[in-house]
């Protein structure tokens, strides 16, 4: 119980601090209005949580194939459902930022935008397959196999492509580290950003636990 109250308090603190402290971007190298960069405190954690959700889903899919425990399938589906929600949030916050700094809501030459769009397609495909498989065991096995294949493809996209095509990414990579790999954020920015990452992750696991509990109850009822 205490940690749910802690999420409320810390999340409130992050939201307030994100708006009252100095902007995370150095004013001398910004492209647009400096205040726009405050979205960094929320956009990056949502994208991070979408990735965490995908990793959780992949872990649960592997565990399902190893143990054949149907509750693993419920967990994988719950993680994917939340991953979908957070990926949509990341796309929306990213589009707002893109409009304010680069002038367009969407830019197909920006590899990270393309990557998150593909992540959305992956979630869409995952749920399309689930709805086409009526038998629970078949559904669990095939969606677990598909999750692992998608994870391999997503690894190529998210980690390999932006590095193979560095010119494609317009993301302000010097926000976190500069070209020499040194951390360029101010100490206050690091504290708020790290806290935001932690509290978003905690929020994810809270909703995840609730979704899994609902899923397990539904599964139990369908078996009776």
């Amino acid at each position: 119980m205490w940690w749910k109250i802690a999420i409320l308090l810390v999340m409130s603190a992050v939201i307030v601090l994100a708006f009252v402290t100095a902007s995370p971007m150095n004013p001398t190298i910004t492209l647009g209005p400096v205040d726009v960069y405050r979205i960094f405190y929320f956009h990056v954690p949502t994208a991070w949580v979408a990735s965490v959700a995908f990793l959780v889903a992949m872990f649960q899919a592997i565990q399902y194939l190893r143990t054949r425990d149907m509750s693993r399938d419920v967990r994988a589906a719950a993680a994917n459902r939340l991953g979908l929600v957070f990926a949509i949030l990341a796309v929306i916050t990213g589009s707002i930022f893109a409009r304010m700094t680069w002038g367009e809501f969407w830019n197909w030459s920006e590899i990270r935008e393309v990557s998150i769009f593909i992540l959305l397609l992956i979630y869409g495909a995952y749920f399309a397959l689930r709805s086409a498989l009526p038998d629970p065991e078949t559904r669990a096995t095939l969606s677990a196999v598909l999750t692992i294949i998608f994870a391999a493809a997503a690894l190529f996209l998210i980690f390999v492509l932006p590095r193979v095509y560095p010119a494609f990414s317009q993301h302000p990579s010097d926000t976190i580290v500069d070209s020499e790999g040194q951390i360029t954020m101010g100490s206050m920015v690091i504290v708020i950003f790290a806290t935001s990452l932690v509290v978003f992750t905690a929020l994810f696991f809270w909703i995840y636990r609730l979704t899994v509990r609902i899923g397990l109850v539904e599964q139990k009822r369908s078996l009776e």
């Binding site: 495909a125 086409a132 498989l133 065991e137 095939l142 294949i149 193979v164």
Partner: protein, 227 residues
């Protein structure tokens, strides 16, 4: 597991032979693939015939034609087993890796036939000749190997679903996207006439993709096949 490398290869060859015989009887997959490729090629030719598109554009169009033509035929490999009720007999007769590689090689043969047909027609209709054949063919070969390697297991997954129609394309696209990005890059260089030095990054990506996706498919195939 394979009892010996020779007998394992012979079994795979037997599966490929069986696929070829059944394909020659019905000619379903090859008809679908060839007709789909011709239709898309015609649409593309009408659309851009009077323009002179850049080599980036040509490479993208070339792979769109190949991708959708492949999608129309490759799904059939496992669906036909489920529909005619022969999947069970196939399961009894051999183990998963044999079936997988048999189907994979058959899909690869289909794609080779498709490529042999579509490349000359593309050159004739769209009036473009690859300036560097070596780069172009490297991209083409690695591209169709990856296409077959990554989609064979997706076809096996889709064959169990109740609604099969568009599901294969929907599931395959996210898997194939890294491949398409890399291969379009290589084909662009092939059309415009650059050397291998310009494509080292996408080439590494493509080789890694082909190896990883095929290996992963082999490892996961038994879960789908022994359902």
């Amino acid at each position: 597991m394979p009892t010996g490398s020779v007998s394992w290869a012979a079994k795979v060859a037997a599966v490929v032979r069986k696929e070829l015989v059944s394909e020659f009887r019905t000619r379903y997959a090859i008809n679908a693939i060839v007709m789909f490729a011709l239709v898309t090629l015609t649409v593309v030719s009408f659309a851009v015939g009077l323009l002179s598109p850049s080599s980036e554009m040509m490479a993208a169009l070339f792979w769109i034609i190949l991708f959708f033509a492949a999608m129309s035929g490759l799904a059939q490999t496992f669906i036909k087993e489920e529909e005619s009720g022969t999947a069970l007999v196939l399961k009894l007769s051999s183990d998963g890796s044999v079936i997988f590689f048999g189907k994979l090689l058959f899909n690869l043969l289909l794609l080779i036939v498709l490529a042999v047909l579509i490349v000359p027609l593309f050159i004739i209709f769209l009036k473009i000749i690859p300036a560097n054949w070596a780069v172009f063919l490297t991209g083409l070969v690695l591209g169709i190997v990856g296409l077959a390697g990554a989609t064979t297991i997706v076809a096996a997954i889709v064959s169990k679903a109740t609604v099969k129609g568009a599901l294969f394309t929907v599931l395959s696209f996210p898997v194939l996207l890294p491949l398409l990005v890399a291969v379009i890059e290589i084909t662009t260089v092939g059309f415009s006439g650059g050397g291998f030095g310009e494509i080292s990054a996408p080439l590494q990506l493509l080789v890694a993709y082909d190896v990883v996706m095929t290996t992963l498919s082999v490892m996961l195939f038994d879960f789908v096949w022994r359902l």
